[in-house]
């Protein structure tokens, strides 16, 4: 039931059509940019750039190779932002996308600290900023909805290279493995997003090692909510047990102090 996107990095040639399509569909303003030391343009994701294609130069065999990595919200199966939010402004939908309720948001930015992919971005130039990120073109009842209308995300429909494929996550996972199995010499035997941080809706396969193109492969397979759950499960037992111990100590030492005074 839950949707996903398979990104085949061996097919992407870095045209940035996905970036433009995202801006157009979501009515996001252009970002004035200047020359910088990279080919990335704009250089980073931001409140108005929900997807950015990163350029990497790497070596494959003896040849210098360009590779292009589309970044956007990974739509985690168990999202860190959701578990970190103390007003539950972020939530995972059963369709797959992770969405945000701006009207609840306090603006504490713990989601930005919690996200292992540094996805949520803040509207720093506003008096009352919202947290912004890719919503997988899912806007139930809203004007920016595609997923709810049976359409694929804007970026996927704009991709001329076939690097992006939209579908059921489980089917895409099987397809990713089938592509790797069909050309084991071409692909790295790793579907990034199958297990990372408990799994993500967006899956990546690559023909160059993931570590060389900006992915961290040494990361936890356990989701962030699961990590924090290992601690938060102690809250109520500690609160109850500690209150009981404190009360007992209070009464015992008070009686002892009074007994000493009584002599």
């Amino acid at each position: 039931m839950a949707k996903g996107v398979l990104v085949d990095l061996s097919r992407c040639f870095g045209c940035r059509s996905c970036q433009v399509a995202c801006k157009q569909w979501n009515n996001l303003p252009a970002t004035p940019t200047t020359f910088n030391n990279t080919w990335d343009n704009p250089p980073e994701m931001s409140a108005t750039n929900w997807t950015v294609v990163k350029y990497y130069v790497t070596e494959k065999g003896n040849k210098v190779q360009w590779r292009f990595v589309k970044e956007q919200c990974r739509h985690c199966l168990e999202p860190a932002c959701e578990s970190a939010c103390f007003v539950h402004a972020f939530y995972k939908t059963e369709q797959g996308p992770v969405l945000y309720r701006y009207y609840r948001c306090v603006g504490c930015r713990y989601c930005m600290l919690a996200c292992p992919f540094s996805v949520p971005k803040f509207e720093w130039d506003k008096v009352f900023p919202e947290v912004k990120k890719c919503r997988f073109c899912f806007d139930p009842g809203g004007e920016y909805d595609r997923l709810g209308q049976g359409l694929e995300p804007a970026c996927v429909s704009a991709c001329p290279a076939g690097a992006l494929k939209f579908g059921e996550r489980e089917e895409l996972l099987q397809e990713a493995k089938a592509r790797i199995a069909a050309q084991p010499d071409r692909y790295v035997n790793h579907v990034y997003g199958e297990h990372e941080y408990g799994g993500t809706s967006w899956l990546y396969i690559s023909d160059v090692p993931f570590e060389e193109i900006g992915f961290r492969t040494d990361v936890s397979k356990e989701s962030i909510p699961h990590w924090t759950g290992r601690v938060t499960k102690w809250t109520l037992p500690v609160a109850a047990g500690w209150t009981a111990i404190l009360t007992a100590l209070y009464l015992y030492t008070k009686r002892r102090a009074e007994a000493e005074e009584g002599h």
Binding site: S83, R104, L113, D125, E130, V231, T232
Partner: protein, 391 residues
Amino acid sequence: MAKDRWTFRLTPTRWVLILISLVAVGVMIYRLGYGLGAATNLNDNWPWGWWIGFDVLIGIALAGGGYSTAFIVHILHKEKYKPIARAALVTSMLGYIICLVGLFMDIGRWYNFWRPFLVYPGSWHSILFEVFWCISLYTAVQVLEFGHIFFERVKAASWKRFFDAVIPGLFIAGIMLPTLHQSSLGGLYIVAVDRLDPLWWSLIIPIFFLISSFFVGPAMCVLEGSLAAKAYNRELEMPVLSSLVKISMWMMIFYLVLKVVDLLYRGHFGDMFAGTTASNLFLLEIIGGVIIPIIMYATPSIRNNPTGLVTASALVVGGVILNRLNVVFTGMAEAMGGSYFPSWMEFTVTAGLIAIAVLAYCFIVENFDILPEEHAAKKAPVVGKGVPARA
């Protein structure tokens, strides 16, 4: 001596503090009116910065003197420490109030600050939810505990009776709540697994935060005591304080052992000798802020000497400050990328909040029965210093 007039003497130092406070209030109004981006240097790489690091994480830890002293005096009924309990409560209460103001400055959509109180389903999975609730409730508990003192001075028999009746419950809640949120403040960084440097990241970081907030309490009492002694021409409560810091010493030994065991267990013990900025700051934190003070507290000739006691306590406080800064900045720098250095407005707000707390402390100490009487004014009393006497 019955006091029937509120007193607040304006010295040159206090005028400076008032000036700093006023500038900070202006900056705070500017920040609330124009937004975080206009007032701070925070950015998408560094969503949390100076205000969270200093005003909240350090402020709350250093205010730990309130609950650790309350635990020793009111729960364990160790009466000999009673003379410092009230001063510790007042400092802690003021510390929490300025932390809450600092936190309010830091939230982007401040008109929504009350929303976590609505307890949305699912919101309780957040460690920040626990921190928010416990800090809010504990600040309220401390204000009520202070109400007990307030109505000694402000005559209202029925209120006095009310506070006498609820004070045991407040004492117990006043230990339980800080235990939860002091640890949860460390727990906030569990989400930073793989990103916070393993020298600081641990699944038991809540326990490290809890223990350090407890052992920094007596050290803060020493520093506050020495400042108050200077300001009010009193003698430091030496026997009480030098005995109190022994509790700190044992907690620090436990902390150190737990830290070593934790690093060995996770296989990161060697990291501290890597020679990087992070590893060197870690060594500074542990050697300067834990090991050396343990030795100083363990040595009677240092512990029983005011200079030695104050120096060792300053090292403990400095070590805890460095630890929190290391968690927020040093340990996250590699993963966060980008750059961040606080703006003058961020520093000014912090300075102003501290100035306001100091002024409020002076007012309370001079008008309520806070500082112990036994050593009061042993030196020649200075006219107009307003040494408080018991009513």
